[in-house]
Amino acid sequence: MAEARAPQKSLPKINPVDRPFWEGAKNNKFLLQKCNSCGKVQFFPRIACVDCFGEVSWIEAKGTGKIHSFTLVRVPRNPAFKEEAPIYYINVILDEGVIIESRLLGDNKEKVKMGDRVKVRYEQTHNPDIKLPCFELA
């Protein structure tokens, strides 16, 4: 019988479509997809343009934006995050015009308000090859 293991924080299961995004994050770059045909910028990573189904390339975002909405997660779905609750879970509108789901970090996160400016901050996960793009108040 398998021994009970302490819960591990969730990590992405990286696949061929989103690998460039995670490679970018590892090098402190926030990559978005842009359609080669219609120019639409999109996130999360998809196999084709979500609008016209054109082929997509990767562009680097500035990593800045503003808070669209936020919630303080008192009960994380994955118990491995319990010690860090409340988690400041956020929707950010990047300056490139895309909503991103992420997490707000930093000592002043309690002051967050709707519309606050934020900038990306890369967090090392327990996997040395994976960094997670989070945000802090700008």
């Binding site: 996130f43 999360f44 979500v50 936020f70 997660v73 008192r74 992420s102 996960t125």
Partner: protein
């Protein structure tokens, strides 16, 4: 579109439980026996089966084999919370085409841990949401509720009034897990789960099963003298999917409503069975349907009595918020409560004039937007 010759014939349910480890097949069997007893049908009369669950890796054809159904039509109906209405729509299509004449639409949930549950987190939820320590659907709806409160001035009391009214409706519903009265103060004082979503904004997961019999008009007339017709139904999947700056406080229900109300008058609906994974979702759907302007849902709620005795009866049996959410059977609860009301069988919570009901389903809180599936139907009692 307008349906002409499809009727609801009956419904069956189990008790709901927060602890029971009754197997999923056991739950199904209880609900099926209930509907067979109520309708006088024999198992062999049923020639179509739809199954909705996340509590088993077995799909509808496997379930049919285990329960011993020989069929002309089978459907695995997983559209999240929209599965109840979605299964009815698809069965109605097949009945109108003549593929079958009596469909059993089944849904359930079980805490039987000997069976693997079916669904993994979908890709975008797994790779781009769960990694941040989110709190499940509670967090995703909290983002929407905060926007509604911030943009439109909606208050906690307005959101809470929906939960409080539904609890009043549940008091005489024997199936409801929560039947003790709830005050506004109880609502406001309930534990914070994912701000601004509180405990009493959330549904209680439970085990149980629900089933619905849908039939051709011809068969229905042989089976019951309480004819309830499916009048019209519509759905929208992935509204705003290509919009990277979507309006999170408007659901696809806006477009579903336009289709529904091209067939039925808004003011002709007597009662509303509105998918209530959260009270704010009920408020947004009322807006989307055009009963008030977008953003005025709070004022609308203030101006109306939402109880089964009121002028705008919503979730007359208590909804999922007070009855409990037996997994994906949650969306079936609303169809069945509508049917119960129209058949005049809602003892202790019967709406006085119950001829026409609007029933909705919503599902799949998704990345950066709101809902993947939104669907609605209107049912009507005819003499």
């Amino acid at each position: 579109m307008r349906r002409k010759k499809v009727c609801f014939v009956g419904y069956g349910s189990t008790e709901y439980s927060r602890k029971s480890e009754e197997s999923l097949l056991g739950q199904y069997a209880i609900a099926i026996r209930d509907v067979l007893n109520k309708t006088g049908l024999k198992k062999k009369d049923i020639n179509g089966l739809s199954v909705t669950t996340q509590a088993s890796p077995d799909t509808a054809p496997h379930v049919a084999e285990q329960l011993g159904f020989e069929l002309d039509w089978v459907l695995n109906a997983d559209y999240g919370g929209a599965s109840g209405v979605g299964a009815v729509s698809r069965a109605a299509d097949a009945i109108e085409c003549g593929h079958l004449d009596i469909a059993l639409l089944l849904a359930g949930n079980s805490f039987d841990r000997s069976v693997a549950h079916q669904r993994q987190l979908e890709y975008q939820r797994g790779n781009f949401v769960d990694v941040y320590g989110y709190g499940g659907p509670n967090s995703l709806m909290a983002l929407i509720q905060r926007l509604h409160m911030e943009n439109f001035g909606t208050t906690l009391e307005q959101v809470g009034k929906i939960a409080v009214a539904q609890r009043f409706n549940a008091i005489n519903n024997p199936q409801a897990l929560f039947r003790e009265p709830m005050s506004m103060q109880d609502y406001l004082n309930s534990r914070m789960i994912s701000d601004p979503v509180r405990l009493f904004d959330c549904v209680m997961p439970c085990s149980g099963a629900e089933c619905i019999i849908l039939a051709s008009e011809e068969k229905a007339k042989q089976l019951t003298d309480k004819l309830v017709y499916l009048v019209t139904d519509a759905e929208k999947i992935h509204y705003q999917v290509a919009n990277m700056l979507p309006e999170k406080t408007t659901f696809g229900m806006k477009l579903v409503g336009e289709k529904i109300f091209s067939e039925v008058k808004r003011e002709d609906i007597d009662l509303f069975e509105i998918y209530d994974d959260y009270p704010i979702a009920v408020m947004i759907q009322i807006e989307d349907f055009g009963y008030c302007k977008k953003g005025d849902g709070g004022k609308f709620v203030d101006a109306h009595d939402l109880t089964y005795k009121g002028d705008f009866p919503v979730n007359t049996g208590g909804g999922e918020l007070s009855v409990g959410q037996a997994g994906l059977a949650g969306g079936f609860l609303h169809v069945i409560e509508g049917l119960r009301q129209l058949r005049g069988e809602a003892e202790g919570h019967q709406v006085a004039k119950a001829e026409r009901a609007l029933v909705t389903g919503i599902g799949w809180l998704n990345y950066g937007r709101n809902l993947g599936t939104t669907s609605a139907l209107v049912m009507e009692r005819r003499k």
